[in-house]
Amino acid sequence: MASVARTELPVEPDEEEKLVVLARRGDRAAAASLLTAHELVVFRVCQHLLPAGEDVEAAVQETFVRALRGLARYSGKGSFAGWITTIAVNLCRDRLRRRRVLSFRPLESGDDDEADPIAVLASPGADPEREVMGREAVRAVRREFRALPRRQREVFALRFYAELDLEGIAAVLGIDVGSVKTHLHRAVRRVRERVEEARP
């Protein structure tokens, strides 16, 4: 099956609730534990949704600062992961608006053939033609991702790069699950069509 695994909770909900209480009181160790538990998702969101030329590390840091300073406003009704991911998505939107750019951070890093994610498609002794098609398919995904409308791009990134489930995406974006499915379906169709063109 091609579905993407749901993100595992790095800390138990009860433990997370205690960490939030301590972090609100200024406990540094508790705050660090909270950030550590969710930093990979925040990094991946910023990596894929920031506009070209933006400093991902700085954006992640700012997301963390906003979260720590806004802990008093976190009601605890939704998941902390969803809450901090919402902050990250909003920050990426802010950066986009501020810079008024429509193009996104190039997902290729320099020479595409050197990029590790593409290399994993090729196993030792693999058919060179298949390997080339695999690389072209990855390029097609990246090109199409950048060309997606904003909402579809956010849903796609949260589903496949941050590995949130549909309910989690709905909570982060403040939309219903049905809308998430619609945006995701449209985005996947476009990406699939490009991949199948690249890998006939």
Binding site: A2, E39, V56, E57, P117, F160, Y161, V188, R192, V195
Partner: protein, 149 residues
């Protein structure tokens, strides 16, 4: 069992992690053609994800945020309390010493006796030397002025 291959819509739903009808799911599980299509797209999407940051970068971002947000270091707290207590003690000590000094017991009888002794003498001679007294009050002697009482 269903013979026709999955539609584009069904492929998209499965790639996104959604559910399809049971017949479609069974077909996908046994059809190499449909499995190859699914896997090709899923594999390309997985490979398009950028590699995550290394631990050093993650730690740097985390620590910087904690500093900026002003989170207290837990181990420092007892030292802060100790320092604050020491400062409070140091600040209050002079008041305490002064308070103790003024509270020393006074022998009222002895003081009154000293006062009476002074008053029994000529008030002027008790304060000034005899040379000064002879200048400012040449006729003064203890028998005329007596006491002030």
């Amino acid at each position: 069992m269903r013979q026709e291959h999955l539609s584009g819509h069904e492929l998209d739903v499965l790639i996104g992690g959604g559910a399809v009808e049971e017949a479609s799911r069974e077909h996908a599980a046994s059809c190499l053609h449909c499995q190859a299509r699914l896997e090709a797209v899923a594999e390309a999407i997985r490979a398009s994800r950028l590699p995550g940051p290394d631990e050093a970068v993650r730690e740097r971002a985390r620590e910087a945020a904690l500093e900026v947000a002003g989170q207290r270091r837990r181990p420092a707290t007892p030292w802060l309390w100790a320092a604050a207590a020491a400062l409070a003690v140091a600040a209050l000590s002079p008041f305490a010493l002064r308070s103790n000094h003024s509270a020393a017991p006074v022998d009222a009888t002895k003081v009154l006796a000293q006062v009476n002794t002074v008053l029994d003498q000529d008030p002027v001679t008790s304060v000034f030397s005899s040379d000064v007294v002879s200048v400012i009050a040449p006729n003064a002697d203890g028998s005329e002025e007596g006491s002030t009482s």
